[in-house]
């Protein structure tokens, strides 16, 4: 990753234009050519420096729902439970965290009722309780990173 890659990452975490030639407009703002920008974006994606390039959607505004849920899973049972949880398409992210509640996952479903259904499924398949912590208020979602 060189200085131009960093400039691309720092400038393009939002505000990508919606117009006839958006990459050309964005490239001009960074001071490179359109071809250079396209080539570099493809490489940054291939190298997995970027996870995606495009619109980031807010799923709740589309009638769907999100929730954060956690479980306390005994170490000996962790692999089995992770497999069950990960197999559900409603589970978008799942992290192991250093805490008595050691498995934390984000549920995303097309309908608000889908969250409760997914939790019931996980509880009955794993035999462990799921603590559901839907967001009550959002103060900020930005997730911008300086490269």
């Amino acid at each position: 990753m060189d200085a131009t890659d960093r400039a691309i990452i720092n400038h393009l975490q939002g505000g990508f234009p919606i117009c006839e030639h958006p990459y050309r407009v964005a490239a001009e703002q960074i001071g490179i050519s359109e071809d250079d920008l396209l080539t570099r974006l493809q490489r940054l994606l291939d190298e997995k420096t970027l996870t995606r390039f495009g619109p980031m959607y807010q799923i709740e505004r589309m009638g769907g729902a999100f929730s954060l849920a956690a479980m306390s899973v005994p170490e000996a049972d962790f692999g089995r439970v992770a497999e069950i949880v990960n197999a559900l398409p409603e589970v978008a992210h799942n992290y192991e965290r250093a805490h008595p509640l050691n498995m934390w996952f984000v549920l995303a479903t097309g309908t608000p009722g889908g969250i409760a259904a997914a939790i019931t499924k996980i509880e009955s398949a794993t035999g462990h309780r799921v603590i559901n912590m839907p967001k009550e208020r959002e103060y900020f979602v930005g997730a911008r990173f300086a490269a």
Binding site: I8, I9, L12, Q13, G15, F16, P17, I18, C19, E20, H21, P22, Y23, L38, L41, L45, K48, T49, L50, T51, R52, F53, G54, P55, Y57, Q58, R61, M62, G63, L68, A70, A82, V85, N86, A92, H93, N94, Y95, E96, R97, A98, H99, P100, L101, W104, F105, A108, N132, M133, K135, E136, R137, Y139, F140, V141, G142, A143, R144, F145, A147
Partner: protein
Amino acid sequence: MDKFDRAIVEATQGGLPLVSQPYHVLAEKLATTPEIVMQRMTAMLEKGIIRRMGAVPNHYALGYRANGMTVWDVLNEHVDALGEKIGALDFVTHCYRRPRRLPEWRYNLFAMVHGRDREEVEAKAARIAEMLQPHCRACAILYSTRILKKTGLRI
């Protein structure tokens, strides 16, 4: 949001085509005109259905290896005013209020903090702690120790 918007979402949630005229490519795929695609996407951006457009970095690849979910037990009457302030900090990437689940879980304010290492995360958490005084009763930092799944949100 109608069926057509949904079709745009489905066609772009994996990413925007990396070609000179990406909205034209989408229009062709959706059997419509580029003008309509651009209009619809602009409207979705204005309504907040699209949060933002651009690059989504993999924070691990950028050297942000420590990922701490900082959680705070903040007095109910102060949590919203303080949550706005914490959310405005430049190193907080997500900030939410969530319900307490007693007795297992007492924390109602969540702020995600990324850093190059745990020391950096702890220094940032200390700044949050200062700002929450004297209305915070307890706090914790939950570090992720393993990514078990990460597919991103899809409809």
